[in-house]
Amino acid sequence: MIDLSPRKSVAVRTALLFALIALAVCGARAQDWVRTGTNLGVSKIRIAAADFKAASADPQAGGLKSAFDQTLYNDLRYAGIFDVVSKSMIPTSTPGTPQEINMAEWSGAPSNAGYVAFGALTASGGHLAVQGFLYNTAQGQQNPQVLGKQYGGEATVDSSRQIAHRFADEIIQQLGGIAGIAETKIYFVSNRTGTKEIWAMDYDGMNERQLTHLGTVSLSPHVSPDNSRVAFSSLGKNGWSIRMYSLDLGRLMAFPAAGGTTLSPAWSSDGTKLAFSSSREGDPDIYVSDASGNGARRLTAFRGPDVSPAWNPKTNAQLAWVSGRTKLPQIYIMDSDGANVTRMTDGGYAISPSWSPSGQFLTFAWDRKYGPGAPGGYDIYVMDIASKRWTQLTHDSGANDFPSWSPDSRHIVFQREQNGHSEIWMMLADGTDQQQLTHGGGSNTMPNWSWK
């Protein structure tokens, strides 16, 4: 019955093989172009983080050590470029120095680590000292030490966490090629005090602190590239205006109010300009001013809402924004003088653009099937600007909005509303590894990732 000649059989097999390869390539592509464009790479480095050795008998050391261990482990896990050996698979030994480590224990099963981070932590007299090492576990190397670092600070849990972030960023820089995000901050809006105020936290959701106490509605925080100021919009007696909070001074700074509904400030990456939406001339349009709010000039002139500008941080020569000129809001891009307007989304309800640090991608919130009667269930998307091809990052998990790129391009922070309640989440830029950063205490919304 099966009477294929050898030649025919080979031909069929070859065709089948090609079909399989084509299928595999197509299936992988949707993720790969995002992963390669966002420094995530295609394979992950296997790394283990040993529990650090407590090298002093100071009673404080225990709490400081557990904060340090947990923070270092999470930073490596969140980095997006590591396959971190789980705590249950690492050896129970806690080598404090290179002399104390048995490398075979870490390179062999079940840990199978290519690299191991370890070290010691000493607390005495209110001072905390940390020695951190990163070793390559491969056999027979001339110099297995990749990093050897010393850190000092106050003997507090927060200081211990900050040192772990610094050590993690050194490891990420060394093995991942670009600066990590473990020391970055996220600015956001929380109504946990009863009114929407501007808050800040570390990128991992720890160390939350309230910045503004205006008692009205404050929205859309955007930190300056030098981390000195936070621009946001706030409702006052005469409507919405941009306010400026100095992180250096810990208070509001003077900023001109030009009238009209003025909203959604966005910093250029050189810190010299702000883009925002304002109705000072009657209709909400996109404007650009200098960083002090002076010299504003209008870029758009269509009737209808124009809001939520985002600079191309690579060049500062282009802006993305949201326009309702064709009814439902869509994402557009234009040159920073208002020329070359290009529509990017082809329908639905598309909002909240954020431009990737490389200039290659936009991320935004999109409901592709939005319509009357359909409650807003948005997902986060990434679009390659040159080709306009896009991929969906969130699926069937509440209404997602306000994505903001991390400075390493590898992460996106966003808000997720489920059951009428919003929290801040982060994920890798390919949509994997979604982590909730805030936990209750009102609704937490509109996250903005610091530039460094």
Partner: protein, 247 residues
């Protein structure tokens, strides 16, 4: 706290406005002497200046003009005037005062422009009695909008007409027009859309004869809701332009 701040602001601004107006009146000189009749019918000459040339809404400027050899002098918008003189004007928008001097020897003209800057007008104290917030809101009804739209619907025209009628009968009332959106959609986009809704209601009232100086817009987007159910009936309640007393 808020009310006392607002009240003191209103009083301070009103006081400043009164002082400004009083200052201008003092500067008005006596009417000029009548011009000498022309002897040989030379060509008329005319000049007009405005001081200051730029004012904020509600402020005033003094026009000063001189002509020679003219028998009939008029300023567009003010009518026939003396051949030389001064007059205080309070334009609500940037206005060019065009002076035409006609004489036996021909015609001359000159123009002075008073620029009205876009700073918000100083709020005037509410002087109407018997109209509180509740009475106002039962007389001046909100305007409702379609989903993702800021066009005033045909069925809202009668509301606009009766609102405008009431406001025209109470010319001292100042109004805040709040633009509201339902809870679907983006926070930032809805604030811009709410601004468009408030502005559309403002334009409709202006078209119905209400002075734009009395109307101020504030967008609330989806930050303040009249109704919080997840139904179309509720969403419709939230898609509105709401009128409140500006005080």
């Amino acid at each position: 706290m808020k009310i006392s701040n607002r009240t003191s602001l209103v009083m301070a601004v009103s006081l400043a406005a009164m002082l400004t107006v009083a200052g201008c009146h003092k500067k008005n000189p006596a009417p000029p002497p009548p011009p000498a009749p022309p002897a040989t019918a030379p060509t008329p000459m005319a000049t007009i200046t405005a001081e200051p040339s730029s004012i904020t809404p509600g402020g005033s400027a003094t026009l000063t003009w001189k002509t020679t050899d003219a028998t009939n002098v008029s300023i567009e918008g003010l009518g026939t005037v003396a051949t030389a003189g001064t007059q205080t004007v309070t334009p609500t928008q940037t206005t060019s005062y065009h002076l035409i001097a006609q004489g036996d020897g021909g015609t001359a003209d000159a123009t002075a422009t008073v620029t009205v800057t876009s700073a918000p007008p100083p709020p005037a104290p509410i002087t109407e009695t018997g109209i509180d917030e509740n009475a106002f809101e039962s007389a001046v009804k909100p305007v409702f909008f379609d989903y993702d739209s800021y066009d005033v619907r045909p069925d809202a025209q009668s509301t606009i007409s009766s609102d405008a009628n009431f406001l025209n009968q109470h010319p001292n009332l100042k109004v805040v027009i709040g633009g509201y959106c339902d809870q679907r959609g983006s926070t930032e986009y809805n604030l811009a859309l709410g601004e468009n809704r408030a502005n559309a209601a403002k334009q409709a009232l202006v078209s119905a004869g209400v002075s734009p100086d009395r109307l101020r817009t504030v967008s609330y987007g989806k930050e303040k809701q009249f109704c919080t159910d997840q139904t179309e009936a509720c969403w419709q309640q939230n898609r509105r332009a709401q009128f409140t007393l500006d005080q």
